[in-house]
Symmetry: D2
Subunit: 380 residues, 4 copies
């Protein structure tokens, strides 16, 4: 029999939906001791909380996250709210001994992130951050290939995250739907939203990043603000590019933007090693491109691996070879690994400290872009 | 509030899992009056039924489908069992007034299918067959483009379904896992298993098929039979190829096999019209390739449509543009459409009669292959 | 020093240009004893012959091919004229002891082809037919991989040649530019024009084809004839599909058409063997797709081989890795191999007899399509 | 009748071959008043010059380029020698009134380039630099689309040139074959060799680049030197990355390396505009990827344009739609445009001044990388 794990979710937006779906599905496909129970959904609007609860089968609602955090019948707090609320909620939840799953980026900046890390570590509560792309099976396979040493010495790591949804200058900033365009709520623009994903994956696959040199740009300088109704200066970065050096000697080349017409969510990364190279692309997330120079010369070529076989990461739990899974499954895998971590005592990553290291890179990027110079990355 | 619809599922295999997942998820993503309730799972083994029930949340189990069919608290019977059992179960279920969802192919052959059609039509029970690929969003989009008349006169329709999982001659036939290799249980090989999907899609997209000329082959002539333990003649077709004529004057070119090394589930179709062409591929099911000759000459090219935008079929119910869904979602869509059909009184297709028409094409193919001649397709 | 080989080319059209380019280039890139000299160009129009001679550096012109064939200073006759003239010219040229390179298809039909074969064999003159696609490096590489036994037992061979240039019903038939639409001149439509290429490659890569079952279609039944000025019945096949059996037990699936909107010259073939599969596509002719099941499972995938390395067939003679060659180079390679064959005494293929075997398949296809039945392929 | 233009080529290596091929072919495919005559080939080794002359049909040889430059029967000097010789030869040739075609990069650095520019401009001799990729038809088509204003405001320009041929640390530096690894001869590594191409294209397509911030890396610090026989420090950059700002407000993101395993000559660029985006890739040089947001939403997608139609740039001069050309044709186009420029009096670009602007970007990159700071690009 499975043990119930009572989840209290804060936020009913895109991520509230993605996480709830993961909790609802995970035990159908993974053999685990724990079973998440959708105990409470928390939102400032009672109507919206009720509707969400009914749809997803949450047993109760809260309209004040502080109440939720205090509830004895909740084991785990899942933070799906805008970036500027993560720290306060997480710290409060840790103090009541709750496990915490927090949306990315961890915090508004490094120092805030450090406080969160120290609190959860002191409280000894299980904690994790939703950098979900690690658990796309093709990305996990990349990690496996790297860990097996197949690539040899690494020369290059390049990543991009390209979108095009904010090109229209009439799009306002701020409010429930568009808080990502409001610097006060989001902290930064593409750096915290998109580059954060790229960096989490990079640190995981390629190790520590020592230094960066960045530039950012805000293409649309003013937008109407949804909360004030006035045209206001845009404080976020619309695009960010950086180069850098990894501790292993490889060069970093990163870029993200919301002004790349034709790309919706084109997160790609490529790693070039002495012996082999790897490429992945979120738009075809079920494939991994792999080139191995040790293949015989005349038949050497980039292999398009359709990551749907039973011996590919996570895929034995799903359908049959050839049948692809999608975006949402990365969240299911993350919950599965988190629960497995509770079973085994080996926590699933990235935890708050791991996500804090990503935060330090984000800080270095913004610093470098502001000051036009190379910046050493703080190491957490 | 939603109305409960009590489901009794027969079979806990791959399809039992795919359907159960669809029932469990559909209301989370689609706004519907009806809500499927996982009332009972039926399997010959009580242990397996119990384990499946626990995992998926079925409220009860049965070990005899006849008992399930008789239960008053069941609204809908879902048949996920091997092909040779469809008719008997469906006919019994129809007689007790149950709605019926039946796995494909509908029957072992046309005459058997016709008895099923006549029974459900007489009983006036809602009925549908799980030709799920119609509801991959890219395929539904293809249908929409065709219905809008964008292609003009159609010249060619070609489809393939290529797999490679039975190349090993040591693979046995028959039994729970390998009943698809046993002619007595499956009726045919790739014709009923794979071509059936291609034909369902083709009849839907391109209309009636008038005549066919087919060949089949059994590459591995003998395999050990799991039920008898003896090496026995293989009765199924390992590969089937046919050409034909559609009623609209276009030419058909179809092929399926389980001996195409390198392809796991490569279902593809292409339609060439006077003005435009369409191509789709199950290995990248979230994309539709579209060529429109009316585009200006110098920028004319095949468009790779990433079918993940909010105005693409079904996609407004899922995530955000750029984030792909997978195989399992086609089943969720089918349940959603079935339930919507109950609401609106406009039944979702394909119903038994529609699937019977596919069965008649399968019969014509097998007849043609056996006799080496053109065969007129019966029209149901 | 190189030995001159005096070439007399008949026809200044597309193929006259492609061959002349090959003669002009071949010694720049291949180390050969013989050097083709552009001695004479023959065309019915003296003006056109002169203009072509000036442009390409032909030393002389002829307006009657019979005169050219009689000239003592000509070593090799290259036949680039419409299909219905091949036999008469080739037979005359053989009788005067000329080497002969003839455009494909060899003849209007098998019996005519046989007469050509018998004449050149009796005359013992070097002879070859311009099935140029064998010498696209990726195709030659496919041959090499097959000959090394990498594929194991072959199950499937499928090929397509899809074009879209005759969809417009206002396009007339006949005359210099459109003789391919005129059955009296071309013999057949896509069968002799496009399937002929597919069959030549197939016989080379996969061996003898034993039997075929075909269908053809003429979508536009009447077109204005350029020679008569009247609307006349169209005698050619616009599309042809056939299935068949190779002598090695593999199944054939072939299709060609000029009504596949979006495809200009999409010649593709795929071979599925027990261990490995190969795919090639004329639209990206510099790549070969290769799947080898013996690769380790987790990194198994279709390899996209960029056939531009120095150890790939012919490529050591061109540029550097990564830099692709194009369509025209297949003709250069064919001339190079022909000349090398003269040096070594091992004639380059396909010779007339080899091309006659292709002709017998074409005859079988047209017979089968006409009579709606399986036809045994004659073996030459 | 065409007018002869006597060419004296200096250098018989890869580029000597590519240019000679272009001179030999251009009049076969382009209707031009001028016809290049292969008058003299110059190389320090008389044997090699003779062999090359015989192979390509050069009428004479020289072993001292100063003699060649003085010859009255030479109209045009083509410089195909290593970078450190360009300036001296070009300046001498200009002084004798010769037209000059010079391999890229123009010079070892900006000041040297400026002297070359001033000399040719003073001498009023036609001059051009072999940045051949502008004349790949797909790239020229990109220029055409941009000039038509289809992209709207430009946000991003990114380019890469990735190779993998120097990963092996046993590869020596210097000498005839490997002068590109020797800083004294090449001036720089990938910056002058590969980025130079990317920058030429970028300035042409996207206008002036105002500022850059770069990093470079030498992965293999020491290699045996072919001239000294000793292990020596490697002076070139193995990899270079830079970000920057174009004058039109768009952001630059560039990278080149010879350590990207799996890529032979992967030159790619992508331009993201307000309305449309463009992508091109040298490994499939015959295709242009184009996304136009003004396409109707449900059928919007990246178009893969097979740039082989008669109305595509240059393609009307070659074969028929669907049949691709290759790398070498870019040189033929460049000669054709140069000759057409002589006819019309509108010189083909890039001339020395244009190439000098590229040189100034190269200087800025090397300066920035050395000093770790943003650098303003000099404008020539």
């Amino acid at each position: 029999m499975t043990k119930p794990l009572n989840v209290g979710t804060i936020g009913y937006g895109f991520m509230g939906k993605a996480h709830s779906n993961a909790y609802a599905k995970v035990n159908h496909f993974f053999d685990l001791q724990y079973r998440p129970i959708l105990k409470a959904i928390c939102a400032r609007s009672a109507d919206k909380a009720k509707a969400f609860a009914e749809n997803w089968g949450y047993e109760s609602i809260e309209i004040d996250w502080r109440k939720l955090v205090e509830r004895k019948d909740i084991d785990l707090i899942d933070i799906c709210t805008p970036n500027n609320t993560h720290a306060e909620i997480a710290i409060a939840a840790a103090k009541t001994g709750k496990m915490i799953l927090c949306e990315k980026p961890l915090a508004m900046n490094g120092p805030e992130g450090l406080r969160m890390v120290e609190t959860v570590e002191k409280a000894k509560v299980p904690n994790m951050v939703w950098y979900n792309y690690r658990r796309v099976p093709a990305v996990t396979l990349a990690k496996q290939l790297i860990d097996e040493g197949r690539l040899g010495r690494i020369f290059h790591y390049r990543a991009k995250f390209l979108q095009d949804w904010t090109i229209n200058p009439e799009l306002p900033q701020g409010g429930t739907a568009l808080w990502r365009l409001d610097a006060a709520t989001a902290g930064s623009g593409v750096t915290g939203d998109l580059l954060a994903h790229c960096i989490d994956t990079a640190l995981w696959l390629n190790g520590r990043l020592d230094s960066v040199n960045a530039m950012t740009e805000t293409f649309v300088k003013e937008r109407k603000h949804n909360l004030t109704g006035k045209v206001e200066k845009v404080g976020i970065d619309d695009a960010a590019i950086f180069m850098g050096r990894f501790h292993n000697g490889s060069l970093a080349s990163f870029e993200s933007t919301r002004y790349a017409r034709g790309h919706k969510a084109l997160y790609t990364f490529e790693i070039n090693g002495e012996h082999a190279s790897i490429f992945w692309d979120l738009h075809d997330l079920h494939r991994l491109q792999y080139f191995d120079h040790r293949d015989q010369g005349i038949v050497r070529g980039w292999r398009s691996i359709h990551v749907t076989d039973g011996d590919h990461p996570y895929m034995g739990n799903w359908w049959v070879p050839g049948l692809q899974i999608g975006y949402e499954h990365s969240f299911v895998h993350q919950v599965a690994d988190f629960l497995k971590g509770l079973e085994t005592g080996k926590p699933a990553m990235p935890d708050f400290r791991d996500a804090y290291r990503t935060q330090l890179v984000l800080d270095a990027i913004l610093d470098s872009a502001k000051n036009g110079r190379w910046v050493q990355v703080g190491q957490g």
